[in-house]
């Protein structure tokens, strides 16, 4: 039963939702960009602060659970959202048109993400997922006057709705066969013999979730949407959305018995293989930074799928650590793109030529970019390496040599384009038209946040102990 006690468990969600309402009312009352951003950030911080309270709650509301995984997910979602807000503020300052609604959409999406990581039931899973996706359509198409933004929004809408349909149909099949919709009970009605219908349902759900995670072959939307969407929306899509969906997929695998099938495991192995290689191969000669990051994120979730294949305690730990490293890295990379793009309206500065010789103009910004790309490539002393280390360790510990082999191959391919970008930053100045960050970028909120993130990449890379301990503490799944 829903009690007050159990509401405390979802306190962060409630706070974020309330903030959304406050922001909406604020907009209706009087538009003010800075205040809106401040309120949004305040709400998120408050939600973050309430997480310890929530984790202390004795019981969860029905259909939801507040276990370690959920707490980890909530914290990461909120942190990413905070960074996104900081960067959005920077980005939207130069935007012509209504700016405040962006925060509203963002808050709604965060609410969805918080619900998703805590969902324990197909209904909440579905609702939260949609709550996460719907505002994203709006965010992606936010600067709809720019052709590409609109195109991104439409593409994401159509394909995401199709994916939702797959997910729903899968759920329906499972429900029809088992009569249960809570994750733990999905197998209760199942006869001893395995049932192709339920497996088919599971597969359809995997397709639906795989789409959100841009698993090959459901990845095609990724580069277009990454490229077209305004940078903050892309950041949100790349971090919060993916992280929440991945956690729910992990939860499904860990908790729902029907997902504990050898055939599904080999399916995931297969998907992981083609995702790692496909993502990296696609990115090889990509001249557009945002598309490139899109392809790179495909590959990264390919690596992460190893955790899904292997399962178990270490897999949860790996997921946690890897997600953290992936998030800080992605935030930094996109943050730089935002910094360079933001002072100008119109399309984002994503072409690689804008970044040529960045180091000689904005050394610190280029340094942040370098660090984040090193991290993406998994070079030691950056967070990315710790993540990659975990994934390989996981693969090795379970003797999944094929996966390990393709991680190695994927990393090797990946290096090619990461290095290509990195060296561009240091090339001599070209005569080409290019865009540049504002001069005082480092003293602004977005800039400072970016620096913090970059430092975080290095700190996690050099001294990952605390992060690992935190994740280990939370990686128990109820």
């Amino acid at each position: 039963m829903l009690t007050l006690e159990s509401l405390i468990a979802i306190l962060p969600l409630i706070i974020v939702a309330t903030t959304a309402v406050v922001v909406m009312l604020g907009i209706a009352w009087q538009r003010h960009h800075a205040v809106t951003a401040l309120v949004t950030a305040g709400g998120l911080v408050l939600a973050l602060l309430s997480v310890p309270v929530a984790s202390g709650a004795l019981s969860s509301p029905p259909l939801m659970t507040m276990d370690g995984l959920a707490i980890m997910g909530s914290v990461l979602v909120l942190l990413c959202a905070l960074v996104t807000v900081a960067l959005s503020h920077h980005y939207l300052t130069g935007y012509i048109g209504p700016r405040e609604e962006f925060y509203l959409l963002l808050l709604c999406a965060v609410t969805g993400a918080l619900g998703l990581v805590a969902s324990d039931h197909l209904a909440t899973l579905f609702i939260s997922l949609e709550l996460l996706s719907m505002p994203l359509y709006g965010m992606l198409a936010y600067s709809f006057r720019a052709e590409r933004s609109l195109e991104a929004g439409i593409k994401y809408l159509v394909l995401s709705a199709a994916a939702t349909a797959f997910l729903l149909f899968g759920m329906a099949l499972i429900y029809a066969r088992t009569g249960r919709m809570d994750l733990a009970g999905l197998a209760a009605g199942l006869a001893a013999t395995p049932d192709p219908w339920t497996l088919a349902g599971a597969v359809l759900m995997v397709v639906g979730l795989g789409f959100k995670l841009s698993i090959v072959p459901f990845h095609l939307w990724t580069p277009d949407v990454y490229q077209g969407g305004p940078a903050p929306a892309t950041i949100f899509l790349a971090t919060v959305s993916k992280l929440a969906v991945f956690l729910v997929l992990l939860r499904l695998i860990m908790v729902a018995p029907i997902f504990d099938s050898e055939w599904l495991r080999s399916l995931f192995t297969m998907l992981a293989l083609i995702t790692m290689l496909g993502g990296n191969l696609l990115a090889l000669f990509q001249p557009n930074l945002k598309r490139l990051l899109g392809y790179s994120s495909i590959a990264h979730f390919g690596y992460l799928l190893v955790a899904i294949v292997v399962g178990g305690q270490l897999a949860v730990e790996t997921t946690g650590v890897y997600l953290i490293t992936y998030l800080v890295t992605t935030l930094a990379a996109f943050g730089v793109v935002t910094m360079v793009s933001s002072p100008f309206g119109g399309e984002d500065a994503a072409g690689l030529h804008h970044y040529r010789g960045l180091f000689w103009r904005r050394p610190w910004l280029a340094a942040v970019m370098t660090v984040s790309f090193l991290s993406l490539a998994g070079i030691p002393l950056t967070a990315g390496f710790i993540g990659k280390f975990y994934v390989i360790a996981l693969g090795v510990s379970d003797a999944r040599w094929w996966l390990v082999g393709s991680i190695v191959a994927g990393s090797a391919i990946g290096l090619f384009y990461y290095l290509r970008v990195m060296v561009t930053l240091y090339m001599p100045e070209p005569g080409m038209r290019r865009r540049d960050a504002v001069h005082d970028w480092g003293s602004r909120v977005g800039g400072l946040t970016l620096m913090v993130v970059a430092v975080l990449i290095l700190v996690i890379g050099v001294y990952p102990g605390p992060v690992i301990d935190w994740v280990v503490g939370l990686s128990g799944v109820s």
Partner: protein, 510 residues
């Protein structure tokens, strides 16, 4: 703690010289020079004060050791240790680092601070490789030095032949080493997990993992994982593809570091890790490794003869020389392993000398193409003489250290594998051919263009003279080096003979 400083000093020096560019153009150079000299002085001090006799039972084999917990979740420690071998290689790093700074004094005029940052970071990483004893830490340094090296080649390199840009060379270098490095990481992790399942203790410590009992087919694959990583860096044919481009297109300092030190990290890795961790598998693998070594000797030599780019030629000779080292390491003979260490040092000197010389030539005639050289003997004072000396060293002329190294290797290997030595000896003839070809094409023959060119200044002269003096000193009296590393190579050699004893005993039982 001194070990930590040995690693930290280059890194701090690098950061300092990066920022020092604001003060003056020369400030980074002086800071970098001071840093490397400091490292050199520390290591020489350690050498002079150290005791390198074979450890008595119960004593540690390490001269210095330092450890601190790092990532307790996986039992990863910051574990540094120094023995004779590491010490010599660290000293070599300090020395060649100094040379690298000196030889770029004129060559690098743009972004001086950032250049020295990269240079010193490479050297710091290399020192880390030589000192790290925790396998995770070792891997970390192993990979870390790639990044600055990449920048060094990609940003300050020379463009190569058409279609072979310096960035491509740098990328290829990076991908080769990184991919093979990841294979090593996989092997390390597998070893760790096997150890974990055997003992329940998660540890990356060298000492702990050394005695791990790995089930058979897996052990062989793990050994192979280590071997491939080192084989790429050494390099062993067919993994040599990165080397000619990287060497040829790197700035002189980069070439010096690559040939002089980075290649040695591979040999060091084999001695320190691949052999002791998997002695039986390595012994079983020895024929293959030796064959690869032979292929490298011959193939590298033949290709060296076909090059028109002087630095590519030198690069291919490195492949040939490292073939000897590989043979020695898998020979299971103390003499050969000692010889390999001497050859590593010797090759560092001679190839550094040749690379610096070709850098100096480049500064004078702005080309690396030997077709536009010829007859330089009469145009440049002094340098041709030095070239001849280093060419002689490279072909293994007695009096030079290379001779001592190569011949100790061959002497040591001969009893165990006479056929290998016979074929490797062909390499001695080929060495003469490629070395003299270089001399022939560059300095002999009619003058391609006329007009005298500037002779070496005091800096260039000093560098050459120091290198030459060291080459000859080691060639005539290598004993100090040998004494320092004896305690390292003797146990390595025993790893193999131990297996032979076992086999012999098994034969008796049967």
């Amino acid at each position: 703690m001194i070990l930590v400083w040995l690693i930290l000093i280059p890194f701090l020096g690098g950061l300092l010289s990066w920022q020092a560019e604001r003060w003056s153009e020369h400030a980074p150079r002086w800071i970098a020079l001071g840093t490397m000299l400091f490292v050199l002085v520390i290591s020489i001090f350690l050498w002079l004060t150290g005791d390198f006799s074979l450890p008595v039972d119960g004593n540690s084999q390490w001269l210095l050791e330092w450890r601190a917990p790092w990532i307790p979740r996986f039992g990863i420690e910051i574990h540094l240790a120094l023995d004779g071998l590491s010490l010599i290689l660290v000293a070599l790093t300090g020395f060649l680092g100094t040379l690298a700074v000196l030889c770029s004094w004129r060559e690098i005029v743009q972004r001086v601070g950032f250049f020295h940052l990269n240079l010193l970071f490479i050297l710091g990483g290399v020192v880390g490789v030589f000192l790290a004893l925790d396998l995770f830490l070792f891997f970390l340094f192993w990979e870390m030095m790639l990044v600055p090296m990449y920048f060094l080649i990609a940003l300050w390199g020379h463009s190569g032949s058409p279609g072979q840009t310096r960035i491509r060379a740098a990328t290829r270098f990076f991908i080769y080493t990184q991919a093979s490095g990841l294979l090593m990481l996989v092997a390390i992790l597998a070893l760790v997990f096997v150890h974990f399942s055997n003992t329940g203790e998660l540890s990356f410590s060298y000492d702990a993992l050394r005695g791990t009992d790995v089930p058979e087919p897996l052990a062989f694959w793990l050994m192979l994982g280590f071997f491939v990583a080192f084989a790429v860096k050494l390099p062993v044919v067919p993994f040599h593809g990165w080397l000619p481009d990287a060497h040829a297109q790197a700035p002189t300092a980069g070439s010096v570091d690559l040939a002089g030190i980075l290649l040695k990290t591979a040999a060091y890795g084999i001695i320190r890790f691949a052999l002791p961790l998997f002695p039986e598998q390595s012994e079983a693998f020895a024929p293959v490794a030796m064959t690869l070594g032979l292929v490298g000797i011959i193939y590298g030599a033949v290709l060296a003869c076909g090059q028109q780019d002087i630095k590519r030629l030198i690069a291919y000779t490195s492949i040939s020389h490292m073939g000897f080292v590989l043979i020695a390491l898998y020979s299971g003979s103390e003499l050969a392993i000692q010889g390999a260490i001497i050859l590593m040092v010797a090759h560092a000197f001679s190839s550094a000398g040749l690379f610096i010389l070709s850098g100096q030539l480049y500064e004078r005639i702005h080309s690396r193409d030997m077709r536009v050289m010829g007859g330089l003997w009469s145009r440049i004072p002094v340098l041709p003489g030095f070239t001849l000396c280093f060419v002689a060293a490279s072909l293994g002329m007695p009096i030079t250290a290379n001779f001592v190294g190569e011949f100790m290797i061959l002497f040591g290997t001969f009893p165990g594998a006479p056929v290998v030595v016979v074929i490797a000896s062909v390499g001695l003839v080929l060495a003469a051919i490629y070395s003299l070809l270089l001399m022939q094409r560059v300095h002999y023959g009619p003058e391609y263009r006329t007009g005298p060119l500037k002779g070496p200044d005091a800096r260039e002269y000093g560098m050459m003279l120091t290198l030459l003096a060291l080459t000859i000193a080691v060639g005539l009296y290598p004993q100090p080096l040998l004494d320092t590393t004896a305690a390292v190579s003797a146990p390595i050699a025993e790893l193999f003979t131990g297996g032979a004893d076992l086999a012999a005993r098994a034969g008796e039982v049967n």
